[in-house]
């Protein structure tokens, strides 16, 4: 019985310290989900051909979408610097100007970011419309855009 209690204590301590480390070990904070264009460019030559996630805002008016070739080009900016992103395939339904996006891929030698995956940063805000607004319009636009894709 004495030995069993010892095992119980050791095991419980291990489990609790493991969780303690997860919670307070600084694992959750200061996480870099993505690099901004400025940060990526600061890496110098190491930045090229290495898989990274790049995040920022779509520069208004920079979207160049060729539905026939499924070819999308746009400028991604963090306010300081911007990079040209090239993505193959249809963008998600909510992709539009000034939207926050994260792209995965590599920066090629020509300085163009070749994206293999484009993600729209979905807002967590649910907002009631102002008076007189017809939300059906917005909603239908979404569906229609999605159908096009």
């Amino acid at each position: 019985m004495k030995g069993r209690r010892g095992v119980l204590i050791v095991g419980t301590v291990l489990v609790l310290s493991g969780f303690g480390y997860l919670v307070w070990g600084g694992l959750g904070s200061n996480i870099v989900y993505f690099l901004t264009p400025t940060e990526l460019l600061a890496k110098g030559s190491a930045a090229y051909e290495a898989p990274v996630r790049l995040g920022g805002q779509v520069v208004a008016g920079s979207i160049d979408w060729d539905p026939g070739a499924l070819d999308l080009r746009f400028q991604l900016s963090d306010g300081t610097s911007s990079l040209e992103v090239r993505s193959k395939g249809a963008p998600p339904a909510m992709f539009k100007d000034t939207m926050g996006v994260v792209v995965e891929g590599t920066l090629n030698r020509a300085g163009v970011f070749e994206s293999t995956n484009l993600m729209v940063r979905h807002s967590n805000e649910y907002t009631a419309p102002p008076e007189g607004h017809r939300p059906v319009d917005t909603y239908q636009t979404l569906i229609r855009e999605e159908d096009d894709g």
Partner: protein
């Protein structure tokens, strides 16, 4: 022959009055909360009436997590004290929790299609919920594959505890892995127009969860009692089979 009669007698035993009343209240609460939600909340700016799915999807998810917490707690109690009631409670909570998780996944998928454009996406919350679902499907499978009640209790308690321990880790790992899903909605990010309805539905589903678990627990107790009666008969009689 006598076993059959005993089983039937155990089966027709009347449900306690509180449970019947509570079930009626829970049903009325869910219907009422849903009607309240549809009546009071305006369509969302971005996704219109689709937002109404939230009133089932989110409460089901909350309460599924609660159910799995009950599984964890009851499993620890079972391994500690070896009381059969704890085992039956864990099993009941796991069953109801699995159903709620399944509902969450299904509705989430239906919701995701028009808003994200995909039925499924590999983000933290979806993936960890799916993993949780599979873990507890495994839990139920293990129970059905194990006949001896003592062994079934010990094994499923271990699986229940491990599964529950794994949930936060799965969540953390897949959260870093993919971060597409929006951060959890808090009262601050949720428009006041939706807040009351969501809370009301959360409470209604909590009632539903409690009632469901209570019914499953009661059924499990009756099954066990019938088993015990049959055991007793076999012990007294000459046959070696229950």
């Amino acid at each position: 022959m006598s076993e059959r009669i005993d089983q039937r007698r155990a089966g027709v035993e009347r449900a306690p009055a509180w449970l019947v009343v509570a079930s009626a209240v829970a049903l009325a609460a869910v219907i009422g909360a849903q009607i309240f939600g549809f009546r009071t909340s305006p369509p969302d700016m971005a996704m219109g009436d689709l937002q109404k799915i939230m009133y089932v999807h989110v409460p089901a998810a909350w309460n599924a997590f609660l159910a799995f917490f009950v599984v964890f707690w009851a499993s620890v109690v079972y391994l500690w004290r070896r009381t059969e009631r704890a085992d039956l409670l864990a099993a009941s909570a796991a069953e109801v929790g699995a159903v709620f998780t399944g509902l969450t996944l299904l509705l989430g998928s239906i919701w995701g299609r028009p808003t994200w454009g995909v039925w499924w996406t590999w983000d933290a919350r979806l993936t960890s919920t799916a993993v949780l679902f599979i873990i507890f499907v495994g839990y139920l499978a293990l129970r059905s594959f194990t006949d001896d009640p003592d062994r079934r209790g010990r094994w499923s308690a271990a699986v229940g505890i491990f599964g529950a321990l794994n949930v936060p880790i799965v969540y953390m790992s897949v959260r870093w892995w993919r971060t597409l899903h929006q951060v959890q909605s808090t009262p601050e990010t949720l428009s006041p127009a939706y807040r009351a309805a969501l809370r009301l539905n959360g409470l209604a589903f909590l009632l539903l969860l409690i009632v469901f678990i209570a019914w499953r627990y009661r059924a499990a107790r009756i099954e066990r009692r019938a088993e015990l009666v049959a055991e007793e008969a076999a012990l007294q009689g000459s046959g070696l089979h229950v």
